[in-house]
Protein backbone atom coordinates (compact mmCIF):
# COMPACT_ATOMS: atom_id res chain seq x y z
CA UNK A 1 0.00 0.00 0.00
CA UNK A 2 1.37 3.38 -0.91
CA UNK A 3 1.89 5.98 1.78
CA UNK A 4 -0.76 8.37 0.52
CA UNK A 5 -3.23 5.53 0.17
CA UNK A 6 -2.63 4.41 3.75
CA UNK A 7 -3.04 7.98 4.99
CA UNK A 8 -6.21 8.46 2.96
CA UNK A 9 -7.69 5.20 4.22
CA UNK A 10 -6.77 6.19 7.78
CA UNK A 11 -8.58 9.49 7.41
CA UNK A 12 -11.64 7.75 6.03
CA UNK A 13 -11.61 5.27 8.90
CA UNK A 14 -11.26 8.07 11.47
CA UNK A 15 -14.11 10.04 9.86
CA UNK A 16 -16.35 6.99 10.01
CA UNK A 17 -15.37 6.41 13.61
CA UNK A 18 -16.27 10.00 14.53
CA UNK A 19 -19.58 9.83 12.66
CA UNK A 20 -20.32 6.64 14.56
CA UNK A 21 -19.82 8.57 17.80
CA UNK A 22 -22.43 11.08 16.62
CA UNK A 23 -20.07 13.80 15.46
CA UNK A 24 -20.93 15.97 12.47
CA UNK A 25 -18.18 16.28 9.90
CA UNK A 26 -18.04 19.89 8.64
CA UNK A 27 -15.11 19.66 6.27
CA UNK A 28 -12.36 17.27 5.20
CA UNK A 29 -8.85 18.21 4.05
CA UNK A 30 -9.35 21.91 4.47
CA UNK A 31 -6.32 23.80 3.16
CA UNK A 32 -4.89 27.24 3.52
CA UNK A 33 -1.46 28.80 3.26
CA UNK A 34 -0.62 27.64 6.79
CA UNK A 35 -1.33 23.99 6.13
CA UNK A 36 -4.04 21.39 6.03
CA UNK A 37 -6.60 20.10 8.50
CA UNK A 38 -7.66 16.50 7.96
CA UNK A 39 -11.09 16.66 9.58
CA UNK A 40 -13.15 19.51 10.99
CA UNK A 41 -16.14 18.27 12.97
CA UNK A 42 -18.54 19.25 15.73
CA UNK A 43 -19.31 17.13 18.74
CA UNK A 44 -22.88 16.19 19.61
CA UNK A 45 -24.43 18.11 22.49
CA UNK A 46 -21.97 20.92 23.18
CA UNK A 47 -21.30 21.57 19.52
CA UNK A 48 -17.60 22.15 20.10
CA UNK A 49 -15.68 22.52 16.87
CA UNK A 50 -12.85 19.98 16.76
CA UNK A 51 -9.90 20.09 14.39
CA UNK A 52 -8.64 16.54 13.94
CA UNK A 53 -5.25 15.44 12.69
CA UNK A 54 -5.09 11.79 11.68
CA UNK A 55 -1.81 9.89 11.75
CA UNK A 56 -1.67 6.39 10.37
CA UNK A 57 1.12 3.84 10.41
CA UNK A 58 1.24 0.25 9.33
CA UNK A 59 3.38 -0.83 12.30
CA UNK A 60 4.91 0.64 15.42
CA UNK A 61 8.45 -0.35 14.46
CA UNK A 62 9.20 3.33 13.89
CA UNK A 63 7.27 4.36 17.01
CA UNK A 64 3.62 5.05 17.72
CA UNK A 65 1.94 7.42 15.21
CA UNK A 66 1.09 9.89 17.99
CA UNK A 67 4.80 10.34 18.70
CA UNK A 68 5.23 11.93 15.30
CA UNK A 69 3.45 15.09 16.47
CA UNK A 70 6.22 17.47 17.48
CA UNK A 71 6.00 21.00 18.78
CA UNK A 72 6.33 22.40 15.24
CA UNK A 73 3.44 20.35 13.89
CA UNK A 74 1.30 21.35 16.89
CA UNK A 75 2.08 25.03 16.33
CA UNK A 76 1.27 24.72 12.62
CA UNK A 77 -2.08 23.11 13.46
CA UNK A 78 -2.92 25.93 15.84
CA UNK A 79 -2.15 28.49 13.14
CA UNK A 80 -4.22 26.64 10.55
CA UNK A 81 -7.15 26.27 12.94
CA UNK A 82 -6.94 29.99 13.67
CA UNK A 83 -7.10 30.72 9.95
CA UNK A 84 -10.24 28.58 9.59
CA UNK A 85 -11.88 30.22 12.60
CA UNK A 86 -11.20 33.71 11.27
CA UNK A 87 -13.02 32.86 8.04
CA UNK A 88 -16.22 31.81 9.79
CA UNK A 89 -19.14 34.25 9.69
CA UNK A 90 -20.36 33.30 13.17
CA UNK A 91 -18.58 33.44 16.47
CA UNK A 92 -17.42 29.99 17.58
CA UNK A 93 -17.52 29.80 21.36
CA UNK A 94 -15.55 26.59 21.88
CA UNK A 95 -13.07 24.59 19.86
CA UNK A 96 -10.12 22.27 20.36
CA UNK A 97 -7.52 20.27 18.48
CA UNK A 98 -7.52 16.46 18.63
CA UNK A 99 -5.14 13.88 17.27
CA UNK A 100 -6.14 10.38 16.17
CA UNK A 101 -3.43 7.78 15.82
CA UNK A 102 -4.08 4.63 13.81
CA UNK A 103 -1.93 1.53 13.75
CA UNK A 104 -3.05 -0.50 10.76
CA UNK A 105 -1.18 -3.70 11.24
CA UNK A 106 -3.94 -6.31 10.77
CA UNK A 107 -7.43 -6.28 9.31
CA UNK A 108 -8.85 -3.57 11.53
CA UNK A 109 -6.74 -0.68 12.73
CA UNK A 110 -6.08 0.11 16.38
CA UNK A 111 -7.33 3.61 17.10
CA UNK A 112 -6.09 6.04 19.76
CA UNK A 113 -7.97 9.28 20.18
CA UNK A 114 -6.10 12.06 21.98
CA UNK A 115 -8.36 14.91 23.03
CA UNK A 116 -7.10 18.45 23.37
CA UNK A 117 -3.57 18.90 22.10
CA UNK A 118 -1.49 21.13 24.37
Amino acid sequence: MRRQTLGRRGEDFAAEHLTGLGWTILQRNWRCSHGEIDIIATTPGTGTVVFVEVRTRSSISAGHPLESIGTRKAARMRRTAGAWLSQQPHFIPSFRIDVIGLVWAGETPELTHLEGLE
Partner: protein
Amino acid sequence: MSTATTAGPRTVELGRAQAIALSGLDGTTVAVEASVNPGIPGIEVVGLPDASVNESRKRIRAALSNLGVRLKAMRYTVSLAPGSVRKVGSGFDLAIAMAILGAEGVVDPTRTAGAVFCGELGLDGRLVPVPGVLPTIVSGLRAGFTHFVVPAGCAAEAHLVPGAQVLPVASVAQCAVHFGATMDAPPVRVVEDREAGHGQRPQVHDLAVVQGQDDARFALEIAAAGGHHLLMTGAPGAGKTLLAGCLPGILPPLGEQAAVEVLALASLAGTFSAHDVPPLPPYETPHHRTTTAAMLGSSRPNSVGVLSRAHHGVLFMDEAPEFSRDVLEALREPLESGWCRVSRSWGSVDLPSRFQLVMAANPCPCGAGEAGRSGCTCTPHDRRRYRSRLSGPLLDRIDLRLDMLPVTPADVHARAQRETSEQVRARVIEARRIQAERYAGVDWETNGQTPGGWLRGHFRFAAHETRLLDRGLETGALTMRGYDRVLRVATTIADLRGAQRPGADELGAALLLRTQEG
Protein backbone atom coordinates in the same frame (compact mmCIF):
# COMPACT_ATOMS: atom_id res chain seq x y z
CA MET B 1 -10.01 0.97 20.99
CA SER B 2 -8.31 3.20 23.44
CA THR B 3 -9.83 4.11 26.75
CA ALA B 4 -8.31 7.58 26.58
CA THR B 5 -11.56 9.16 25.47
CA THR B 6 -13.43 8.02 28.57
CA ALA B 7 -12.98 10.69 31.18
CA GLY B 8 -13.73 10.18 34.83
CA PRO B 9 -12.10 9.31 38.12
CA ARG B 10 -9.72 6.37 38.19
CA THR B 11 -7.34 5.04 40.75
CA VAL B 12 -4.16 7.05 40.48
CA GLU B 13 -1.11 4.88 39.91
CA LEU B 14 1.93 7.01 40.53
CA GLY B 15 5.45 5.65 40.36
CA ARG B 16 7.60 6.87 43.19
CA ALA B 17 11.29 6.84 44.07
CA GLN B 18 13.72 8.95 46.05
CA ALA B 19 16.90 10.68 44.98
CA ILE B 20 19.32 13.18 46.50
CA ALA B 21 20.23 16.52 44.91
CA LEU B 22 23.70 17.50 46.12
CA SER B 23 24.81 21.03 46.72
CA GLY B 24 28.36 20.78 47.96
CA LEU B 25 28.43 17.95 50.51
CA ASP B 26 24.86 18.67 51.63
CA GLY B 27 22.00 16.93 49.91
CA THR B 28 18.29 17.62 49.61
CA THR B 29 15.87 14.72 49.33
CA VAL B 30 14.16 14.75 45.96
CA ALA B 31 10.88 12.87 45.64
CA VAL B 32 10.60 11.51 42.12
CA GLU B 33 7.06 10.85 40.89
CA ALA B 34 5.93 9.56 37.54
CA SER B 35 2.43 9.72 36.14
CA VAL B 36 0.97 8.28 32.92
CA ASN B 37 -1.62 10.44 31.20
CA PRO B 38 -3.09 10.88 27.73
CA GLY B 39 -1.03 13.21 25.60
CA ILE B 40 1.62 13.22 22.95
CA PRO B 41 3.70 10.13 23.80
CA GLY B 42 7.03 10.83 25.45
CA ILE B 43 8.69 11.54 28.77
CA GLU B 44 8.60 14.98 30.28
CA VAL B 45 10.69 15.98 33.29
CA VAL B 46 9.62 18.93 35.43
CA GLY B 47 11.22 20.35 38.58
CA LEU B 48 14.28 22.42 37.55
CA PRO B 49 16.23 19.70 35.75
CA ASP B 50 19.45 20.82 34.12
CA ALA B 51 20.49 19.66 30.66
CA SER B 52 22.04 16.40 31.86
CA VAL B 53 18.92 15.46 33.85
CA ASN B 54 16.72 16.32 30.88
CA GLU B 55 18.80 14.10 28.64
CA SER B 56 18.07 11.15 30.92
CA ARG B 57 14.67 10.91 29.19
CA LYS B 58 16.40 9.63 26.09
CA ARG B 59 18.68 7.24 27.97
CA ILE B 60 15.75 5.83 29.95
CA ARG B 61 13.57 5.41 26.87
CA ALA B 62 16.29 3.52 25.06
CA ALA B 63 17.32 1.44 28.08
CA LEU B 64 13.75 0.36 28.91
CA SER B 65 13.01 -0.42 25.30
CA ASN B 66 16.14 -2.55 25.06
CA LEU B 67 15.00 -4.42 28.18
CA GLY B 68 11.71 -5.24 26.47
CA VAL B 69 9.60 -2.80 28.49
CA ARG B 70 7.48 -1.08 25.87
CA LEU B 71 6.17 2.24 27.12
CA LYS B 72 2.54 2.99 26.34
CA ALA B 73 1.67 5.58 23.68
CA MET B 74 0.96 8.09 26.45
CA ARG B 75 2.56 11.03 28.15
CA TYR B 76 4.88 10.20 31.09
CA THR B 77 5.23 13.20 33.34
CA VAL B 78 8.09 12.93 35.83
CA SER B 79 8.18 15.41 38.67
CA LEU B 80 11.24 16.07 40.80
CA ALA B 81 10.03 17.69 44.03
CA PRO B 82 10.80 20.16 45.58
CA GLY B 83 10.61 22.06 42.32
CA SER B 84 12.71 24.95 43.59
CA VAL B 85 15.92 22.93 44.08
CA ARG B 86 18.17 22.69 41.05
CA LYS B 87 18.85 19.11 39.92
CA VAL B 88 22.23 18.54 38.36
CA GLY B 89 23.93 15.52 36.85
CA SER B 90 23.14 12.14 35.40
CA GLY B 91 22.71 10.46 38.81
CA PHE B 92 18.92 10.88 38.68
CA ASP B 93 18.55 8.37 35.82
CA LEU B 94 17.93 5.34 38.03
CA ALA B 95 15.37 7.09 40.27
CA ILE B 96 13.45 8.37 37.23
CA ALA B 97 13.57 4.96 35.56
CA MET B 98 12.26 3.25 38.70
CA ALA B 99 9.45 5.82 39.05
CA ILE B 100 8.44 5.20 35.44
CA LEU B 101 8.53 1.42 35.97
CA GLY B 102 6.38 1.98 39.06
CA ALA B 103 3.83 3.98 37.06
CA GLU B 104 3.85 1.19 34.47
CA GLY B 105 3.07 -1.30 37.22
CA VAL B 106 6.26 -3.26 36.48
CA VAL B 107 7.68 -2.71 39.96
CA ASP B 108 5.92 -2.09 43.25
CA PRO B 109 5.75 1.70 43.81
CA THR B 110 5.16 1.34 47.54
CA ARG B 111 8.54 -0.33 47.88
CA THR B 112 10.51 1.99 45.62
CA ALA B 113 9.07 5.04 47.40
CA GLY B 114 11.18 4.36 50.50
CA ALA B 115 14.55 3.84 48.83
CA VAL B 116 17.13 6.29 47.55
CA PHE B 117 18.35 5.57 44.02
CA CYS B 118 21.41 6.95 42.33
CA GLY B 119 23.15 6.01 39.13
CA GLU B 120 23.41 6.79 35.46
CA LEU B 121 21.91 4.51 32.81
CA GLY B 122 23.73 3.10 29.84
CA LEU B 123 21.65 2.47 26.73
CA ASP B 124 21.61 -1.28 27.39
CA GLY B 125 20.38 -0.74 30.94
CA ARG B 126 23.70 -1.15 32.73
CA LEU B 127 24.46 1.26 35.53
CA VAL B 128 27.38 3.63 35.26
CA PRO B 129 29.07 5.04 38.39
CA VAL B 130 28.37 8.68 39.18
CA PRO B 131 30.30 11.18 41.31
CA GLY B 132 29.04 11.99 44.80
CA VAL B 133 27.72 8.58 45.93
CA LEU B 134 29.33 8.92 49.37
CA PRO B 135 27.86 12.35 50.24
CA THR B 136 24.55 11.19 48.75
CA ILE B 137 24.34 8.31 51.22
CA VAL B 138 25.45 10.47 54.16
CA SER B 139 22.76 13.05 53.31
CA GLY B 140 20.16 10.35 52.78
CA LEU B 141 20.89 8.81 56.18
CA ARG B 142 20.57 12.24 57.78
CA ALA B 143 17.18 12.66 56.06
CA GLY B 144 16.01 9.38 57.58
CA PHE B 145 16.44 6.92 54.69
CA THR B 146 18.16 3.60 55.24
CA HIS B 147 17.92 1.84 51.86
CA PHE B 148 20.21 2.94 49.05
CA VAL B 149 20.54 1.54 45.56
CA VAL B 150 23.83 2.42 43.88
CA PRO B 151 25.71 1.31 40.76
CA ALA B 152 27.76 -1.83 41.42
CA GLY B 153 30.88 0.09 40.42
CA CYS B 154 30.36 2.39 43.43
CA ALA B 155 29.82 -0.43 45.93
CA ALA B 156 33.17 0.02 47.71
CA GLU B 157 32.49 3.70 48.17
CA ALA B 158 28.91 3.17 49.37
CA HIS B 159 29.88 0.52 51.93
CA LEU B 160 32.14 3.02 53.71
CA VAL B 161 29.12 4.65 55.36
CA PRO B 162 28.10 2.81 58.52
CA GLY B 163 24.38 2.32 59.11
CA ALA B 164 23.30 2.38 55.48
CA GLN B 165 21.74 -0.66 53.82
CA VAL B 166 23.30 -0.53 50.39
CA LEU B 167 22.14 -2.55 47.41
CA PRO B 168 24.68 -2.42 44.58
CA VAL B 169 23.10 -3.27 41.23
CA ALA B 170 24.78 -3.77 37.89
CA SER B 171 21.77 -3.00 35.70
CA VAL B 172 18.34 -1.44 35.86
CA ALA B 173 16.84 -4.87 35.18
CA GLN B 174 18.54 -6.30 38.27
CA CYS B 175 17.21 -3.34 40.25
CA ALA B 176 13.69 -3.82 38.90
CA VAL B 177 13.69 -7.53 39.75
CA HIS B 178 14.72 -6.66 43.31
CA PHE B 179 11.67 -4.39 43.57
CA GLY B 180 9.14 -6.94 42.39
CA ALA B 181 9.43 -7.05 38.61
CA THR B 182 9.21 -10.33 36.74
CA MET B 183 11.67 -9.90 33.90
CA ASP B 184 14.90 -11.36 32.72
CA ALA B 185 17.90 -9.70 34.27
CA PRO B 186 20.69 -10.70 31.92
CA PRO B 187 24.06 -10.51 33.66
CA VAL B 188 26.03 -7.48 32.52
CA ARG B 189 29.64 -6.60 32.98
CA VAL B 190 29.96 -4.33 36.01
CA VAL B 191 31.09 -0.88 34.96
CA GLU B 192 33.98 -0.14 37.30
CA ASP B 193 34.76 3.22 38.71
CA ARG B 194 37.40 4.99 36.70
CA GLU B 195 40.89 4.35 38.07
CA ALA B 196 42.79 7.40 39.22
CA GLY B 197 40.99 9.56 36.73
CA HIS B 198 42.59 12.84 37.64
CA GLY B 199 46.27 12.17 37.22
CA GLN B 200 48.83 11.10 39.73
CA ARG B 201 49.26 12.45 43.18
CA PRO B 202 52.29 14.76 43.23
CA GLN B 203 55.44 12.94 44.27
CA VAL B 204 56.12 12.82 47.99
CA HIS B 205 59.81 12.81 48.92
CA ASP B 206 61.61 11.32 51.91
CA LEU B 207 63.45 13.64 54.26
CA ALA B 208 66.51 11.36 54.04
CA VAL B 209 67.36 12.76 50.58
CA VAL B 210 67.46 16.38 51.77
CA GLN B 211 71.03 17.68 51.99
CA GLY B 212 71.82 20.23 54.68
CA GLN B 213 69.12 22.77 55.51
CA ASP B 214 68.91 21.75 59.16
CA ASP B 215 66.90 24.85 60.08
CA ALA B 216 64.42 24.17 57.31
CA ARG B 217 64.06 20.52 58.34
CA PHE B 218 63.32 21.63 61.88
CA ALA B 219 60.81 24.22 60.66
CA LEU B 220 59.11 21.58 58.52
CA GLU B 221 58.83 19.26 61.50
CA ILE B 222 57.27 22.06 63.55
CA ALA B 223 54.87 22.86 60.72
CA ALA B 224 53.78 19.23 60.56
CA ALA B 225 53.47 18.83 64.32
CA GLY B 226 51.51 22.01 64.99
CA GLY B 227 49.64 22.38 61.71
CA HIS B 228 51.29 25.76 61.17
CA HIS B 229 51.22 27.45 57.79
CA LEU B 230 54.70 27.86 56.35
CA LEU B 231 56.38 30.31 53.98
CA MET B 232 59.83 29.48 52.65
CA THR B 233 61.82 32.22 50.97
CA GLY B 234 65.10 31.41 49.33
CA ALA B 235 67.19 31.28 46.20
CA PRO B 236 66.23 28.81 43.47
CA GLY B 237 67.83 25.46 44.15
CA ALA B 238 67.83 25.90 47.91
CA GLY B 239 65.45 22.95 48.17
CA LYS B 240 62.13 24.65 48.85
CA THR B 241 60.10 22.44 46.54
CA LEU B 242 61.86 19.30 47.73
CA LEU B 243 61.20 20.15 51.37
CA ALA B 244 57.56 20.94 50.71
CA GLY B 245 57.31 17.57 48.97
CA CYS B 246 58.47 15.93 52.20
CA LEU B 247 55.68 17.41 54.32
CA PRO B 248 52.86 14.98 53.39
CA GLY B 249 55.18 12.11 54.34
CA ILE B 250 55.61 13.29 57.92
CA LEU B 251 52.00 14.19 58.63
CA PRO B 252 50.06 12.01 61.06
CA PRO B 253 47.38 9.70 59.60
CA LEU B 254 43.90 11.18 59.15
CA GLY B 255 41.35 10.68 61.90
CA GLU B 256 38.14 8.80 61.17
CA GLN B 257 36.00 11.91 60.71
CA ALA B 258 38.66 13.62 58.60
CA ALA B 259 39.03 10.54 56.41
CA VAL B 260 35.29 10.46 55.68
CA GLU B 261 35.35 14.16 54.78
CA VAL B 262 38.33 13.68 52.46
CA LEU B 263 36.67 10.71 50.75
CA ALA B 264 33.36 12.55 50.43
CA LEU B 265 35.10 15.43 48.69
CA ALA B 266 36.96 13.02 46.40
CA SER B 267 33.66 11.34 45.62
CA LEU B 268 32.05 14.68 44.78
CA ALA B 269 35.01 15.65 42.62
CA GLY B 270 34.75 12.30 40.82
CA THR B 271 38.29 11.27 41.81
CA PHE B 272 37.29 8.61 44.34
CA SER B 273 39.18 5.38 43.97
CA ALA B 274 38.84 2.32 46.18
CA HIS B 275 42.65 2.09 46.27
CA ASP B 276 42.74 5.30 48.31
CA VAL B 277 40.97 3.82 51.33
CA PRO B 278 42.05 4.72 53.96
CA PRO B 279 43.07 8.04 52.44
CA LEU B 280 46.41 9.78 52.88
CA PRO B 281 46.43 13.46 53.76
CA PRO B 282 45.72 15.25 50.46
CA TYR B 283 48.56 17.09 48.76
CA GLU B 284 47.71 19.70 46.15
CA THR B 285 50.26 21.64 44.11
CA PRO B 286 48.39 24.11 41.91
CA HIS B 287 50.21 25.83 39.09
CA HIS B 288 50.73 29.55 39.65
CA ARG B 289 48.43 30.50 36.76
CA THR B 290 45.50 28.68 38.37
CA THR B 291 42.42 30.91 38.42
CA THR B 292 40.44 31.97 41.46
CA ALA B 293 37.43 30.00 40.26
CA ALA B 294 39.49 26.81 40.04
CA MET B 295 40.93 27.38 43.50
CA LEU B 296 37.58 28.09 45.18
CA GLY B 297 35.56 25.62 43.13
CA SER B 298 31.80 25.69 42.58
CA SER B 299 32.24 27.44 39.25
CA ARG B 300 29.81 24.77 38.11
CA PRO B 301 27.47 22.97 40.48
CA ASN B 302 29.31 20.17 42.29
CA SER B 303 32.77 21.16 41.09
CA VAL B 304 35.37 20.94 43.83
CA GLY B 305 38.13 23.54 43.98
CA VAL B 306 41.78 23.02 44.75
CA LEU B 307 41.35 24.48 48.24
CA SER B 308 38.69 21.91 49.08
CA ARG B 309 40.65 19.07 47.53
CA ALA B 310 43.44 19.99 49.94
CA HIS B 311 41.03 19.67 52.90
CA HIS B 312 42.83 18.04 55.87
CA GLY B 313 46.01 18.03 53.80
CA VAL B 314 48.68 20.25 52.35
CA LEU B 315 48.25 23.03 49.81
CA PHE B 316 51.67 23.80 48.38
CA MET B 317 51.87 27.01 46.37
CA ASP B 318 55.23 27.06 44.64
CA GLU B 319 56.33 30.47 43.32
CA ALA B 320 53.68 32.04 45.56
CA PRO B 321 54.23 35.68 44.47
CA GLU B 322 53.54 34.64 40.88
CA PHE B 323 49.95 33.70 41.74
CA SER B 324 47.46 36.39 40.79
CA ARG B 325 46.52 38.81 43.50
CA ASP B 326 42.92 37.58 43.33
CA VAL B 327 43.96 34.02 44.13
CA LEU B 328 46.21 35.09 47.00
CA GLU B 329 43.53 37.28 48.56
CA ALA B 330 40.91 34.57 48.08
CA LEU B 331 42.95 32.40 50.45
CA ARG B 332 42.14 34.64 53.40
CA GLU B 333 38.64 33.46 54.29
CA PRO B 334 39.32 29.73 53.86
CA LEU B 335 42.46 30.11 56.00
CA GLU B 336 40.40 31.82 58.66
CA SER B 337 37.21 29.77 58.68
CA GLY B 338 38.20 26.48 57.03
CA TRP B 339 35.34 26.81 54.53
CA CYS B 340 35.00 27.91 50.93
CA ARG B 341 31.72 29.78 50.76
CA VAL B 342 31.01 30.58 47.15
CA SER B 343 27.90 32.24 45.76
CA ARG B 344 27.31 32.15 42.04
CA SER B 345 24.40 33.03 39.83
CA TRP B 346 23.03 29.49 40.12
CA GLY B 347 23.27 29.29 43.90
CA SER B 348 25.56 29.21 46.87
CA VAL B 349 27.72 26.35 48.13
CA ASP B 350 29.83 25.72 51.23
CA LEU B 351 32.69 23.28 50.88
CA PRO B 352 35.11 22.50 53.73
CA SER B 353 38.69 23.55 53.06
CA ARG B 354 40.82 23.37 56.19
CA PHE B 355 44.25 22.89 54.67
CA GLN B 356 47.80 23.51 55.74
CA LEU B 357 49.31 26.19 53.52
CA VAL B 358 52.91 25.90 52.39
CA MET B 359 54.28 28.65 50.18
CA ALA B 360 57.62 28.94 48.46
CA ALA B 361 58.95 32.21 47.08
CA ASN B 362 62.10 33.55 45.50
CA PRO B 363 63.56 36.58 47.25
CA CYS B 364 63.41 38.67 44.09
CA PRO B 365 61.93 38.48 40.58
CA CYS B 366 65.20 37.61 38.79
CA GLY B 367 65.67 34.63 41.05
CA ALA B 368 69.43 35.05 41.28
CA GLY B 369 69.08 35.03 44.99
CA GLU B 370 70.47 36.42 48.13
CA ALA B 371 71.30 40.04 48.67
CA GLY B 372 75.01 40.55 48.17
CA ARG B 373 75.45 37.64 45.81
CA SER B 374 76.53 38.27 42.29
CA GLY B 375 74.14 37.99 39.41
CA CYS B 376 71.06 39.65 40.87
CA THR B 377 69.94 42.41 38.54
CA CYS B 378 66.97 43.54 40.57
CA THR B 379 66.75 47.03 41.98
CA PRO B 380 65.72 47.42 45.62
CA HIS B 381 62.41 48.73 44.31
CA ASP B 382 61.84 45.54 42.30
CA ARG B 383 62.58 43.40 45.33
CA ARG B 384 60.24 45.36 47.56
CA ARG B 385 57.44 45.21 45.03
CA TYR B 386 57.94 41.45 44.60
CA ARG B 387 57.73 40.90 48.34
CA SER B 388 54.64 43.08 48.65
CA ARG B 389 52.70 40.74 46.37
CA LEU B 390 52.14 38.61 49.45
CA SER B 391 49.94 41.01 51.35
CA GLY B 392 50.09 41.74 55.06
CA PRO B 393 46.74 40.13 55.92
CA LEU B 394 47.85 36.92 54.20
CA LEU B 395 51.28 36.85 55.85
CA ASP B 396 49.56 37.49 59.19
CA ARG B 397 48.02 34.07 58.97
CA ILE B 398 51.32 32.31 58.35
CA ASP B 399 53.04 31.28 61.59
CA LEU B 400 56.35 30.11 60.19
CA ARG B 401 58.33 32.26 57.79
CA LEU B 402 61.66 30.86 56.90
CA ASP B 403 64.57 32.31 54.95
CA MET B 404 66.49 29.49 53.33
CA LEU B 405 70.15 29.79 52.49
CA PRO B 406 71.66 28.03 49.47
CA VAL B 407 73.14 24.59 50.04
CA THR B 408 76.88 24.74 50.82
CA PRO B 409 79.58 22.32 49.59
CA ALA B 410 79.92 21.09 53.15
CA ASP B 411 76.29 19.99 53.11
CA VAL B 412 76.72 18.16 49.82
CA HIS B 413 79.72 16.17 51.05
CA ALA B 414 78.36 15.48 54.52
CA ARG B 415 78.41 11.71 55.07
CA ALA B 416 76.17 11.64 58.10
CA GLN B 417 73.01 9.59 57.70
CA ARG B 418 70.02 11.90 57.61
CA GLU B 419 66.85 11.15 59.51
CA THR B 420 64.14 9.53 57.44
CA SER B 421 60.58 10.79 57.16
CA GLU B 422 59.41 7.80 59.20
CA GLN B 423 61.56 8.80 62.20
CA VAL B 424 60.37 12.40 62.05
CA ARG B 425 56.78 11.30 61.61
CA ALA B 426 56.91 9.32 64.87
CA ARG B 427 57.78 12.52 66.75
CA VAL B 428 55.06 14.44 64.92
CA ILE B 429 52.44 11.86 65.86
CA GLU B 430 53.51 12.04 69.50
CA ALA B 431 53.31 15.86 69.44
CA ARG B 432 49.81 15.68 67.94
CA ARG B 433 48.78 13.28 70.71
CA ILE B 434 49.89 15.80 73.35
CA GLN B 435 47.93 18.52 71.55
CA ALA B 436 44.83 16.35 71.35
CA GLU B 437 44.96 15.98 75.15
CA ARG B 438 45.47 19.69 75.71
CA TYR B 439 42.68 20.74 73.36
CA ALA B 440 40.19 18.04 74.40
CA GLY B 441 37.53 20.50 75.55
CA VAL B 442 37.86 23.19 72.87
CA ASP B 443 36.91 23.26 69.22
CA TRP B 444 40.36 23.34 67.65
CA GLU B 445 42.88 20.55 67.38
CA THR B 446 46.35 21.93 66.73
CA ASN B 447 48.64 24.67 68.00
CA GLY B 448 48.39 26.34 64.61
CA GLN B 449 44.68 27.04 65.19
CA THR B 450 44.99 28.12 68.84
CA PRO B 451 44.31 31.76 69.74
CA GLY B 452 47.36 33.35 71.40
CA GLY B 453 45.28 34.61 74.29
CA TRP B 454 44.29 31.07 75.19
CA LEU B 455 47.95 30.02 75.33
CA ARG B 456 48.90 33.00 77.48
CA GLY B 457 46.09 32.19 79.88
CA HIS B 458 46.86 28.49 79.91
CA PHE B 459 50.62 28.63 80.48
CA ARG B 460 50.84 31.87 82.53
CA PHE B 461 54.39 32.69 81.42
CA ALA B 462 56.74 34.23 83.95
CA ALA B 463 58.42 37.52 83.03
CA HIS B 464 61.87 35.91 82.86
CA GLU B 465 60.65 33.38 80.30
CA THR B 466 59.24 35.94 77.89
CA ARG B 467 61.95 38.57 78.39
CA LEU B 468 63.15 38.38 74.76
CA LEU B 469 59.65 38.64 73.40
CA ASP B 470 58.67 41.49 75.67
CA ARG B 471 61.73 43.33 74.55
CA GLY B 472 60.74 42.85 70.91
CA LEU B 473 57.28 44.15 71.70
CA GLU B 474 58.75 47.17 73.48
CA THR B 475 61.03 48.13 70.62
CA GLY B 476 58.31 47.55 68.06
CA ALA B 477 60.16 44.66 66.41
CA LEU B 478 57.20 42.40 67.26
CA THR B 479 53.52 43.20 67.00
CA MET B 480 51.04 41.63 69.36
CA ARG B 481 49.95 39.30 66.58
CA GLY B 482 53.56 38.36 65.94
CA TYR B 483 53.99 37.80 69.68
CA ASP B 484 51.11 35.30 69.69
CA ARG B 485 52.52 33.52 66.66
CA VAL B 486 55.80 33.02 68.51
CA LEU B 487 53.86 31.53 71.42
CA ARG B 488 52.09 29.06 69.13
CA VAL B 489 55.32 27.92 67.48
CA ALA B 490 57.07 27.70 70.87
CA THR B 491 54.26 25.47 72.14
CA THR B 492 54.76 23.12 69.21
CA ILE B 493 58.51 23.00 69.84
CA ALA B 494 57.78 22.09 73.45
CA ASP B 495 55.37 19.36 72.32
CA LEU B 496 58.00 17.93 69.98
CA ARG B 497 60.52 17.84 72.82
CA GLY B 498 58.01 16.31 75.15
CA ALA B 499 58.31 19.28 77.52
CA GLN B 500 55.37 20.10 79.78
CA ARG B 501 55.27 23.75 78.71
CA PRO B 502 57.26 26.09 76.51
CA GLY B 503 60.09 27.76 78.47
CA ALA B 504 62.65 30.43 77.63
CA ASP B 505 64.50 27.98 75.35
CA GLU B 506 61.48 27.17 73.22
CA LEU B 507 60.41 30.81 73.04
CA GLY B 508 63.90 31.79 71.92
CA ALA B 509 63.97 29.09 69.26
CA ALA B 510 60.54 30.15 68.01
CA LEU B 511 61.70 33.74 67.84
CA LEU B 512 64.62 32.69 65.67
CA LEU B 513 62.24 31.09 63.16
CA ARG B 514 60.62 34.46 62.58
CA THR B 515 62.69 36.20 59.99
CA GLN B 516 60.16 38.71 58.76
CA GLU B 517 58.60 41.02 61.23
CA GLY B 518 55.04 42.15 61.45
